[in-house]
Symmetry: C2
Subunit: 331 residues, 2 copies
């Protein structure tokens, strides 16, 4: 492997000149420049970026902390982040935490140890047990929840949930079940808050038996639908699901039990996965601008990294409420 010194020797110039030729070509005479070119091609020289980054004290890398990369919503956010940081010459290190606190630690350590300059966190902030914010690590939260104690970009989960339930109520539903995410997950908390706001406004009593504790994964939608189906005459006429995965599988569960959607039960989701408009019936849901959330959070992080003080540190992006075929007025 040839180094800059080899190129210097080969071209009869000094390492300093080679370095300049590479970083600022017009500060070097054309004649030297072509010599450098020739030497580089001859030796097939590739700069050692590890050395460069070390020397420059900048890794030009960020890490993305993500609970589970094989979740479409997160994957879309990541895609958004990747695209903007890449334009700025940054790379992204993937930090799949698998929900484990320890792995989260390890990835955060990457920025403490200079392997990355900053971090965007897709895991929603937990009140207790959250490590961030941390001195010396610049971080932003993407797609998180209310009251995240460091810069964040997200949608208004409470408001969105409220809107969905309002709509269900406007359709005449009074008995509205919920398929929740994990109980202590901030998204679950925010979205449940929206649900409660809405039914309260309508004078509907909150009934714990209408809340099924899921975990945001497909299978829990299925078991939730079993649970609700067994409620028989006390079965809700509508189901507010805290994400599309659970909504889609809940539909399947109800269908398997011979119910019709939306005739027998209305179902709503949250996220608007690409697939949600193609399922049958197409899902009524909240569309989170996942890609946009990623892009905005990346821009924010980049600003922070440049030492600029962004005028805002909490971006609440607009969402869409998309009414499709899985909801209808009560019979």
């Amino acid at each position: 492997m040839s180094t800059i010194r080899d190129v210097a020797k080969e071209s009869g110039l000094s390492t300093g000149t080679i370095s300049k030729a590479l970083s600022d070509p017009k500060s070097v005479s054309p004649k030297s420049l072509s010599k450098v070119q020739a030497a580089i091609t001859k030796l097939n020289y590739k700069p050692n970026m590890l050395s460069q980054k070390f020397r420059n004290k900048q890794s030009k890398t960020i890490v993305i902390l993500v609970p589970d990369i094989a979740n479409l919503f997160f994957a879309q956010v990541i895609s958004g982040i990747e695209h903007v940081v890449h334009k700025h010459g940054f790379s992204v290190l993937l930090g799949d935490t698998n929900g484990e606190k320890q792995r989260e630690q390890e990835y955060i350590k990457m920025v403490e140890t200079r392997l990355a300059d900053g971090l965007v966190n897709l895991c929603p902030h937990m009140d207790q047990g959250s490590i961030l914010p941390l001195e010396n690590v610049v971080a932003v939260s993407a797609g998180g929840c209310e009251n995240t104690p460091y810069p964040s970009v997200r949608i208004d989960n409470v408001g969105a949930s409220e809107k969905v339930v309002d709509y269900l109520i406007s359709l005449g539903h009074r008995r509205i079940g919920v398929i929740s995410g994990l109980e202590d997950n901030p998204h679950s908390i925010d979205r449940l808050k929206g649900y409660r706001n809405s039914i309260e406004k309508a004078g509907i009593k909150f009934e714990p038996e209408l809340i099924y504790g899921g975990d945001f994964n497909f299978w829990s939608g299925l078991s939730a639908s079993e649970y609700f189906y067994r409620l028989k005459d006390k079965m809700p006429t509508a189901l507010f699901c805290m994400n599309d995965d659970m909504a889609i599988s809940a539909m399947k569960g109800m269908l398997n039990n011979g119910l019709k959607i939306p005739e027998d039960i209305s179902i709503t989701g949250f996220d608007d996965l690409q697939v949600s408009r193609y399922v049958n019936p197409a899902l009524t849901t909240i569309s989170q601008p996942a890609q946009k959330i990623g892009e905005k959070s990346a821009e924010l992080l980049l600003q922070l990294l440049e030492g600029k003080n962004p005028n805002q540190t909490e971006y609440v992006l607009p969402y869409d409420f998309i009414i499709r075929e899985s909801t209808s007025a009560i019979k």
Copy 2:
């Protein structure tokens, strides 16, 4: 930011000892060790990994080249890779190529410039226009196609496709449409080969009008279904779709046109996304062991990186053919 030298000074030891204490604690006396500990905590010392990697000439990082991270299949493969390399102390750099050759180049350059030690490529190998294999960059292909000219792990796309179409034929179908991926995509080519093998065996004539050129995305399933629907009495009785996304949206398209699945038309997919068992009707499809493909390819790469010669360089993993509700015998 404190350096190893500060720790040395603070503890009254030398940098060499600190270094050893960190990398091989038992080669240092307990007394010194505790001094080192004390100094580290006092100064809140964090080693500069950039320096370490530079010095050690190893980045302990791999890059994953992926056409589109917001595609569930790829996301699952990535998840598999991440988990195994992480266990070995490696990090992963995400290389979302967005299908652009130039970006692919840039990411490959990362290993040439020492930013990464190796690479796993999720973009299937193209005969022409493929840059890999490259001298000096150790790479493995994951989830690719036949005849990839460097180590690879994948399933037998041709055989799997053949199996699906065989099944359709066994159900009495003779007019079997195809929703293909991009024409020059290796997966399209392999899977079409399987289709042709199968119908040929059955003595069915190949009819170009039964092949619709999609692009692996949802919307093309929809437009494909329009195309086939307009064939009227020449409409196929079954549709072999080259991935689940297109199959799911093709189902939606047919449903929208008032057809029943599988009664009026059978539909099959490829990939077995998590969602595919929850759509209605549940999709008959090929299950690629995405996570496993990721894991195996990571292990392979790690071996290569250690200079070991793996006894195999082409792993063809088993797939499952999963018969669900979207297919039935012809009326």
